[in-house]
Symmetry: C2
Subunit: 221 residues, 2 copies
């Protein structure tokens, strides 16, 4: 009888080391652990988990649509027949956790060594800056999808990189910087991506930043 | 030279009292002050005002849509050709103000004496209950459109009325109850509906309610 791995490949005793594909190939062809799910799926699952257990109330915002034409067929639901995607004016996720307003954007990259800043839009940074002025907590969830690694990244890290780019600096944030400055979350079963664990870690630090920003604002006024 | 009112009607000195239409007629035909705007327009204006002046960061969520078919004509934007409206799982508005998470639903009624509870969905109440458990602030903005009166109504008032309805009680909240228990906001020029003024008034009270709920939750666990 042939024994098979869960992925359908036959198991041959003692040959594992030999059969292991070259590292580069493996990362490219096999999706370790995440079984084809997108970051959005992961976060929807996580947010449902938080909601059901009354840990937090965080939702993804619907995609903004400009509706042009709607038909009302008799005896059935209204059908949208012409509509266009609009540019979102905010981030994708927000909600409340233990009295804190949370606001974040989730992005994934296929890149294995750095996160390209072209994935982020200026208006999102503008929005998050404003969130922090209002004493909310703003951050990014960055997934390196080929490495299946997730980094909860406070807003100032991305903002600084963006400012440097605008002054002619590099157009991406290196993986090493995430390793050094962001909080890595290992995906698990339930909840899938326990990002609140990371938020809890940087909540005090963020508040210090926020209070400094606030007092600067007051001085400026 | 004929002098005219802003609405185009000619001004006749001394005839104002005589020309005034009967009260019932007036309320039905003339939209006092609000010039045909919906509550949504009012709130969008108000939220832009708050955002521009860094007072708060509150947004309306896009309408959730189930997209079925998208066309990609060459050289132009993607067109959605088949899509359906989905039931929202949350309220329409949320955001952050001075460290507080705010979450509200805006409803208007043509009724002049009471607000029919059929305008509210059970899942919205469920969501708001959860917001309060997370120490957020949940409320309703109710507009009596024919009276052009706006009431900022804390969640517990609507929740109590809903519970009474479920036990066979009345299916609406009388205007008098809003006058007694909610905070009325007079529409003005800028901001259009200054609801944060009202939120500020009930923020302390809400926090007491929240803390009581929280300790009950802890006891139950």
């Amino acid at each position: 009888m042939m024994i098979r791995y869960p992925n359908g490949k036959p198991y041959k005793a003692g040959t594992e080391e030999v059969q292991k594909p070259k590292k580069k190939q493996a990362l490219k062809d096999i999706n370790f652990g995440n079984r084809g799910k997108t970051l959005e799926d992961d976060l929807n699952e996580t947010n449902s988990y938080y909601l059901q257990r009354q840990i937090a109330n965080i939702h993804k915002k619907p995609v903004p649509i400009q509706i042009v034409k709607v038909e009302y067929p008799s005896r059935s639901a209204a059908v949208i027949r012409e509509a266009y995607f609009r540019t979102p004016s905010t981030t994708d996720y927000n909600g409340v956790w233990n009295g804190y307003y949370l606001d974040f954007e989730a992005k994934e990259t296929e890149n294995k060594t750095s996160f390209p800043l072209k994935n982020i839009h200026a208006h999102q940074l503008e929005h998050m800056k404003n969130v922090i002025l209002q004493k909310g907590i703003a951050f990014f969830i960055i997934r390196f999808s080929r490495l299946d690694r997730y980094f909860i990244t406070p807003f100032p890290i991305v903002e600084n990189a963006w400012q440097q780019m605008e002054q002619g600096g590099r157009k991406s944030i290196p993986l090493q910087q995430f390793e050094a400055q962001a909080i890595e979350i290992k995906p698990s079963y339930q909840p899938r991506i326990d990002y609140l664990q990371a938020v809890q870690q940087f909540v005090c630090e963020s508040f210090t930043i926020m209070e400094n920003t606030q007092s600067e604002e007051i001085k400026r006024d």
